[in-house]
Symmetry: C2
Subunit: 136 residues, 2 copies
């Protein structure tokens, strides 16, 4: 908790109680929550919290590189508080998302016509599968 506070103190990031609750919820969270997951959790302690606050906060974190937006699920966005480059696998049935920490960057070479046109900033691999539970 102290660590969280010191990470944001004096960085032009105003630490309000709601934000602290969001940061605490996200810290070490590997469940890839949606905006609604965050909203519902924070609401327990701060019943008047609004979606705007949730979206504002995750956007502020994203700008600072503290959080990633995940688009592997076409139905809704998920957020990942682990900003280190990594990849994801989603279960096509239950939509559960898990992290993959293999580094593929060596392998992901691009053809010359693409590198000629684009300055490359990053990559992300989505894997699709069916998890044990959903296979019955």
């Amino acid at each position: 908790m102290e660590k969280i506070i010191s990470r944001y103190k004096g960085k032009g990031f105003k630490l309000t109680p709601q934000r602290l609750a969001i940061l605490k919820f996200l810290e070490g969270n590997t469940n890839h929550p949606t905006a609604e997951d965050i909203f519902r959790e924070i609401k327990k302690k701060y019943p008047t919290v609004s979606f705007a606050t949730v979206y504002n906060t995750v956007e502020a974190l994203r700008e600072r590189g503290e959080l990633l937006e995940i688009t592997i699920n076409p139905d809704r966005k998920h957020f990942d508080p682990n900003p280190n480059p990594h990849h994801h696998i989603i279960c096509k049935v239950c939509k559960k998302i898990e992290d993959i920490f293999t580094d593929y960057s060596e392998a992901l070479k691009l053809p010359k016509d693409i590198t000629d046109e684009f300055e490359i900033l990053g990559n992300h691999v989505d894997f699709y599968g069916i998890c044990k539970n959903c296979r019955n």
Copy 2:
């Protein structure tokens, strides 16, 4: 055109004029259109076409494996009428999407804990960059 028709004839896929227009627009299209892009195009010839028809048709195509949904742009879905597995790069500024036909499947090995839990069905690599135009 004849080729398009014969591909769907007698497959339980009703070929209506609106659907033919959509199929014709998508055939060989590498622009990764959104639902609205398709809607606007079909509307030129069929002014009464509705979004429901566009969504129904792309969903029918997706079910048949004739089209892929692309989620590389967090803002909206794009559709790709090339159903062969391939990858994409998006310009972070103008959101232009281009195809990448390199096959990375050999390189994308997964750790055992993941393959133990998931039956793997596929993968997709997103690349992020800035295109020549947007670099000024």
